[in-house]
């Protein structure tokens, strides 16, 4: 197992180098960051020349990339055009994004798995229909509608939750977390239900029942554990996605998370922001995926990583 983890960690190095290079080239292709920096008027030529020189924009792209990686290796993620170090901004914003993602994932794991299991064992009955239909409704409503409605009703009109989450405290993040988790709850519930229903028909369940095990043990221990694998895969993917920030939800509730920062970097064509943030996100994806792969082995001993 240890060897497996080390091997996987080593594999990350080329992935990170490749990903940062691709992102770097794409940011380069985004266009000229100089135009539009001077309000409604064009920037003076001397300003443009200095801006390009200061940010190495007048150098060939390979030089720019090499220079960037050199700085990253020295622990410097670069500085945004506005003068703030990218690392400092990320440190400021990651705690908020992590809190928000954990609330959302917590909601989706607990509510989703529970709803899926109940629907699965009551297949074809009222509860099953309730779960499948309500999840369909949630899936088909766009997130900005759910978010906007929740803010209007629970925040503005009823005053149950804070309207926005600018400071990013747990109390402020509960409603955005619920909104963000709502969509995934629906997916998790449906996934859970489908795999559970399928596994309940398998031979080992019949054997367990024949052996005289209680239904709770048959479902709760034997079937559930096997059925969790696709659900864990999905949740793992979702953690990675949520760490990247939820641009729409962040906008609605004014959460100062990673997504908004990345969005800003893209609109300002600020290469340091985009590449620095994405590099971190790639790293998170890779590590969460590793964690999921290790979890497979725990859930199902037949899947061996060695």
């Amino acid at each position: 197992m240890a060897a497996y983890i080390v091997r996987r960690l080593l594999q990350m190095i080329p992935v990170i180098i490749g990903a940062t290079f691709l992102i770097f080239v794409m940011v380069f292709a985004l266009g000229d960051p100089v135009a539009g920096r001077c309000g409604e008027r064009p920037c003076p030529p001397a300003y443009v020349a200095k801006f390009r020189a200061d940010n190495y924009l007048d150098q060939p792209i390979l030089f720019q990339y090499g220079h960037y990686i050199w700085r990253v290796l020295h622990g410097d993620l670069g500085t945004a055009f506005s003068g703030q170090p990218v690392a400092q901004e990320l440190l400021l914003r990651f705690p908020t994004t992590v809190k928000l993602a954990l609330i959302a994932v917590g909601v989706e794991a607990v509510v989703g798995i529970l709803a899926g299991v109940l629907a699965g064992i009551r297949k074809g009955r009222f509860l099953d229909y309730l779960v499948t239909i309500s999840s369909l409704v949630v899936i088909s409503v766009p997130i900005f509608v759910i978010g906007g409605l929740a803010q209007l009703v629970f925040g503005l009109r009823l005053g149950l939750f804070p309207v926005t989450a600018t400071q990013g405290t747990i109390g402020q993040l509960i409603m955005p977390g619920l909104v963000l988790g709502a969509l995934s709850v629906a997916y998790v519930a449906r996934l859970m239900r489908a795999t559970l229903v399928e596994n309940l028909r398998s031979d080992y369940v019949r054997t367990a029942k024949a052996k005289g095990l209680t239904p709770a043990r048959t479902v709760g221990v034997h079937t559930l554990r096997n059925s969790l694998i696709p659900v864990i895969t999905f949740i793992g993917y979702d953690i990675g996605a949520l760490m990247g920030g939820a641009v729409v939800t962040e906008r609605i509730f004014n959460i100062n998370g990673i997504g908004g920062y990345l969005y800003r970097g893209i609109t300002l064509k600020d290469g340091s922001i985009v590449v620095g943030t994405v590099t971190c996100l790639v790293l998170i994806y890779l590590l969460v995926n590793l964690l999921v792969d290790v979890l497979y082995g725990v859930l199902d001993p037949r899947i061996s990583n060695d």
């Binding site: 983890i5 990253v72 703030q84 509730f253």
Partner: protein, 547 residues
């Protein structure tokens, strides 16, 4: 099983450790997030909707509004614009005298200091302006010094600035003593006094010249507020007690809180989580919903900004046919568009200069800005009509730009029967590049936000031959001569009359078609009073009080 659990724990620990090191590599100190509510000190604290500056906060190097709003709060200039009338009032200056509109003597009030304790002297001004004007420094505000004598000697001879300019200082600036300096302009400039309140004319302390880059991160000025911290999420300002000018702060602390979406800021003001919002989201403007939400805590005022249509100089059919351009302009139902698209938050334009500035005169555009479909159609046919599809090119990243384009095109299409489509460009940068490259035919969206409250600011930078913002490539010797005469006029009234004649010349030549004058709609929380918006469309931080 046990071994596996341990491995799992090890894996998660490694993950966390890696995350911490990878993404926290900078190891810089985290700025204090700062709680913005509830001031314990006397003046109280207010929060204002803001945006993130695009560049370090250097007064001479900022011409975008996010940074500009902050710079205006922490800098003081020779004159300060009255927040009601926009009239320039002496701030750091005791007097600015001239007899010929070309040689000016500036006397400073004694005893003004910067926020780092150093005194404001005439050298602080002269050095700062020389720095801004000097080509190799690449300052965005260099444009504003172009009227000063000796500007050609400090400007880079080539765009890339490969050869250094002849001189490092403007010959038109001379320090007489600690509180006196003189300004000489290349030509006569009758409205120089009005120009001097723009932030590019701020003085800079000694510390700035030592390391401008570092200074921009925690800048120092002589204004009513000083900068406590700047981040991409909020900017905190506090009262500068030693400011002795005309617009002292009444509150102790102002926090510009950055909102990614104006809807969230608006909702926060409605629920008292934010004190001032300087824009209202479009959906709240419909049916005046915002005036119900913000009952007795909302306001609206005319500001110094406008929108117009630039007729592309690259379009063979439009160029050289002013009658055709006037006919197209007459086919635009301005009043209808401002009501339906902008819920009355913009005023239909009757000329090239908005009412919020000194020298405004109603009706320079005449009947070419008065919607009359039948008359427009007749004039259109008489002028030879337009073959093919007329396009309206606009950057669609700005609020309302696309809707404006569609509405203008629809109006033209209905009145003239000519095909008109919106050519949407993704962002302002690309649009700007396309204009510079002469890529667009037909019509183009243009807008202006004034730098200083003078009629001249809406004419000279936009219609002078060769000016950066002369998108219409307008070139009229007669117009030019009127501007020169106005600049040399003895009194402001005389100057304004001449500027108005120049504006009337635009009405004849019709390089562009005015669309609207901007107004600012704003709201405030139940915790604050005396919330005003300046003629520049920004919140007047000095007047706000906490209840």
């Amino acid at each position: 099983m046990r071994a596996r659990t341990r491995a799992l724990a090890a894996a998660s620990l490694t993950s966390i450790a890696l995350l911490a090191t990878a993404c926290g590599g900078g190891g810089s100190t985290t700025p204090d997030p700062g709680t913005s509510e509830g001031g314990s000190t006397t003046g109280g604290a207010v929060t204002v909707n803001g945006c993130t500056p695009k560049a370090p906060l250097i007064a001479g190097n900022t011409s975008e509004t996010c940074g500009g709003n902050i710079i205006d709060a922490f800098t003081a200039k020779l004159v300060h614009y009255n927040s009601e009338t926009a009239a320039p009032e002496m701030d750091l200056a005791e007097s600015i005298d001239t007899t010929d509109n070309q040689n000016f003597t500036v006397k400073l009030k004694s005893g003004s200091t910067f926020q780092d304790g150093t005194p404001v002297t005439s050298k602080s001004f002269v050095d700062a302006w020389n720095y801004t004007a000097y080509g190799p420094n690449g300052q965005a505000g260099s444009y504003f010094l172009s009227a000063f004598a000796g500007i050609d000697d400090v400007t880079c001879p080539d765009p890339e600035c490969k050869t250094k300019p002849k001189s490092k200082t403007l010959s038109g600036l001379k320090v007489v003593d600690d509180t006196t300096f003189t300004i000489k302009t290349t030509d006569k400039v009758s409205n120089l006094l009005t120009r001097l309140g723009y932030s590019a004319f701020s003085p800079q302390p000694e510390a700035f010249f030592a390391d401008p880059e570092a200074f921009g991160k925690k800048p120092v000025g002589a204004g009513p507020f000083k900068v406590d911290s700047v981040s991409s999420t909020e900017t905190v300002l506090s009262k500068f007690a030693d400011y002795k000018g005309v617009a002292p702060a009444k509150v102790d602390k102002v926090t510009f809180r950055v909102y990614q979406d104006i809807g969230a800021a608006y909702n926060d003001v409605v629920s008292d989580n934010l004190d001032v919002v300087d824009q209202i989201p479009p959906d709240q403007l419909i049916g005046d919903a915002w005036k119900t939400d913000l009952d007795a805590r909302n306001g609206q005022r005319a500001i110094g900004g406008n929108d117009w249509v630039t007729f592309s100089p690259e379009d063979e059919q439009l160029a050289g046919n002013p009658d055709l351009r006037k006919a197209i302009s007459m086919a635009i139902d301005r009043a209808g568009i401002m009501q339906t698209v902008f819920s009355g938050t913009r005023t239909p334009a009757t000329g090239w200069v908005p009412p919020a500035v000194e020298g405004f005169k109603e009706g320079a555009c005449g009947e070419a800005c008065t919607f009359d479909a039948a008359k427009a159609k007749a004039a259109f046919d008489a002028a030879g009509g337009y073959q093919g599809t007329l396009t309206y090119t606009a950057n669609v990243d700005g609020a309302g730009n696309a809707q404006m384009g569609e509405a203008v095109c629809n109006s033209i299409k209905n009145a003239l029967g000519v095909d008109c489509v919106l050519n949407g460009v993704n962002d302002f940068a690309t649009f700007q590049k396309g204009i510079d490259g002469g890529d667009y035919k037909g019509m183009m969206r243009s807008a202006w936000q004034m730098d200083y409250p003078s009629i001249e600011n809406f004419l000279a930078p936009i219609y002078t031959k060769g000016a950066d913002s002369n998108w219409a490539k307008y070139d009229s010797p007669e117009f030019q001569s009127l501007l020169t005469q106005a600049a040399a006029a003895a009194t402001p009234d005389e100057a304004n009359t001449l500027y108005q004649q120049a504006e009337a010349k635009l009405g004849e030549d019709f390089p562009t078609a005015p669309l609207d004058y901007k107004t600012a709609s704003f709201g405030w929380s139940t915790k604050v009073d005396n919330v005003k918006i300046t003629p520049f469309g920004t919140p007047d931080l000095s007047s706000i009080t906490v209840k």
